[in-house]
């Protein structure tokens, strides 16, 4: 069950479908990110961390919970790298290791708030469930 | 017995290569010493659009086990549009052969530029391996050419 970081990096690439080699390190993902300041590891760094196999740092980072899943980085990336997918993949890996959802579908209606955009809820559900 | 037969099997493979891209790609594979099996024999044509379906059928009739056609990448044809016509012709021909029950791995088209010596070599290695797995061509051979 214990995997090396390198193996984990491969799994993350596979889950996310991201080819990290396509990144040209322009930083537009980070520049576009609304949660940038909250993050310890920034979206553009996610790409290079995965590329370099520094997965433990990512698993422990708070960035994965700070990402809003707004996909601005995916939309604007000129090289079609999709950093948000990587973040999501790392998050999934953490959730799977812990085993258990933070959120179940039944809990969703209670959280509904007229003020909140639907997208946010969908994002939250993505984030906090397997 | 079966195994031994397969070991003996030396497929006959005809490769039609266009003069401007793929033949040059094969030359580059050669000068880069990128090996591929000697079963592949190349016929030079000016353009992939010169390859008549009749040539391919004839090769099978005379006992070829596989036929591959290589041309410039779509958009790069020396004659502007030749490979586009070739692409349609070969698509339809291959589909028809498949429909007649001929193993569809016996025919292949690959676009190889003059700079792609590596691609030429890997393509040929792959294709020869494929033909090895398919074995001898019996469905399209003219028995008169057997002896």
């Amino acid at each position: 069950m214990l995997r090396t970081e390198k193996e984990q990096a491969e799994i993350i690439k596979e889950i996310s479908g991201v080819n990290t080699k396509k990144c040209m390190k322009c930083g537009k993902c980070s520049a576009s990110c609304p949660a940038y300041d909250e993050m310890d590891i920034r979206p553009h760094q996610f790409v290079s961390y995965v590329q370099n196999g520094d997965i433990n740092a990512l698993l422990e980072s708070k960035s994965i919970w700070k990402c809003l899943s707004c996909f601005a980085c995916v939309e604007r990336c000129p090289r079609d790298v999709k950093p948000a997918r990587l973040i999501e993949a790392v998050r999934l890996m953490v959730i799977r290791q812990r085993g258990g959802n933070y959120l179940t579908p039944n809990e969703v209606p209670e959280l509904l708030d007229e003020e909140l955009p639907q997208q946010l809820l969908a994002s939250a559900f993505r984030k906090y469930s397997k | 017995m079966q195994v031994e037969n397969n070991k003996e099997f030396r497929p006959k493979i005809v490769a039609f290569c266009c003069n401007w891209c793929s033949y040059a790609g094969a030359d580059l594979a050669g000068s880069s010493r990128l090996a591929y099996p000697a079963d592949v024999k190349i016929i030079r044509v000016p353009c992939s659009c010169r390859v008549n379906p009749m040539f391919i059928l004839r090769a099978f009739q005379k006992g070829a086990d596989g036929v591959i056609m290589c041309g410039c990448h779509p958009g790069d044809c020396h004659y502007t549009s030749g490979n586009y016509y070739a692409r349609r012709r070969m698509t339809l021909l291959f589909s028809m052969l498949d429909y007649l029950g001929v193993e569809n791995g016996r025919t292949r088209v690959e676009w190889v530029s003059a700079a792609e010596g590596v691609k030429f070599s890997t393509t040929m290695n792959e294709f020869v391996a494929k033909i090895h797995s398919l074995g001898e061509n019996v469905r399209l051979e003219d028995l008169r050419c057997k002896n």
């Binding site: - | 005379k62 006992g63 003219d142 008169r144 050419c145 002896n147």
Partner: protein, 340 residues
């Protein structure tokens, strides 16, 4: 006269095939054609006319004459083996049997065609009377009796039995070979069948065509008739009529490059084809009208003139049913003045 139950025919075929190659009508992909009998083959004796005639058994559509090879700069020739074993052709109709005689006149007269002669020598013809002649049949016009086929063995299918009668020495020999399967029979049932067949033939629409115009007219008069011009136009110049015809005997000789040598083969040719009799200088028959005329003049005039009045049409009617343009020799006979 012998008989055998219809249900035991497969035993009969197996017995013959155990000794000799047996060719008979076999149904494959919905069509009956003569083929080599095997246990799996679907024998079809009910179809009156096979698509191709049994001509193939004596004069195959394509046969290799010899092979030659370049062996270290020297030419090595390997001639094809002549037929040297007996074989049986079963189920031939009276017209098809007559057609073999037409071919004999061509191939067995000097110069003798050794390939054909060998097959004729070894071939045993087992004919079968036509139980239900069809509207396209007109063998009667050529004096052929579909009820009494004149082969080595004649057979009649009556009810649930096949009646068997050897007519020649070859036929006797074959009978001996399968004697243990046959039982003695009297001729009454067969005589009745014959009468019935003859009665039907009388009623067929083409049975009374009149050929006298071909006997009484000068060759050039027929040749120059303006009617050819009127008749040929629908002809598509395909070779269907000639390839289904049991008497067409024209062939071409060609070479096939096998890569390692050359096979010289001969194959049926068709006078309907534009390159028929093509020579270096060109072709003497340049129009389809001429080619069309050639076929029918040959069948109805040239051949009979050279063969004591024997026509080289046997009225099998295959061309009548197979011509894509519905042209046929009957229409020609009628047009030339042979309306019954």
């Amino acid at each position: 006269m012998y008989k055998i139950e219809k249900s035991r025919l497969s035993e009969l075929f197996a017995a013959i095939a155990a000794q000799e190659d047996l060719f008979l009508p076999i149904k494959k992909c919905d069509q009956a054609n003569y083929g080599l009998w095997t246990e799996e083959a679907e024998v079809d004796l009910d179809t009156l006319k096979t698509v191709k005639s049994p001509k193939d058994c004596f004069f195959p559509q394509s046969e290799t004459l010899y092979k030659c090879k370049n062996e270290d700069g020297k030419l090595a020739i390997d001639p094809a083996k002549l037929q040297d074993k007996p074989f049986v052709v079963f189920g031939m109709r009276a017209c098809d049997v007559q057609a073999v005689k037409v071919l004999d006149n061509v191939f067995l007269n000097d110069p003798v065609d050794s390939y054909y002669a060998a097959r004729r020598e070894h071939g045993i013809l087992v004919a079968m009377a036509c139980h239900e002649p069809e509207e396209t049949c007109f063998c009667k016009v050529f004096g052929i009796d579909a009820a009494n086929p004149a082969a080595d063995v004649a057979t009649w299918m009556v009810g649930e039995d096949l009646y068997w009668k050897a007519l020649t020495e070859k036929g006797e020999a074959l009978t001996k070979l399968v004697e243990n399967l046959l039982t003695d029979a009297d001729e009454a049932a067969v005589e009745k069948e014959k009468k019935q067949i003859q009665a039907i033939i009388e009623k067929l629409p083409f049975s009374h065509l009149d050929l006298s115009v071909f006997e009484n007219s000068e060759l050039m008069e027929l040749f120059d008739s303006p009617k050819w011009e009127e008749m040929y136009k629908p002809c598509l110049a395909c070779g269907t009529c000639t390839f289904v015809c049991p008497t067409c005997q024209c062939y071409d000789i060609k070479d096939f490059n096998t890569g390692s040598g050359v096979q010289r083969y001969r194959c049926w040719d068709s006078c309907m084809y534009s390159d028929f009799t093509m020579m270096a200088h060109g072709n003497m028959r340049t129009s389809q009208m001429q080619r069309f005329r050639q076929r029918f003049m040959h069948k109805l005039k040239y051949y009979p003139d050279n063969n004591d009045g024997m026509y080289s049409c046997v009225g099998c009617g295959r061309c009548v049913s197979k011509c894509p343009a519905s042209l046929n020799i009957v229409k020609v006979i009628k047009k030339m003045g042979g309306e019954a």
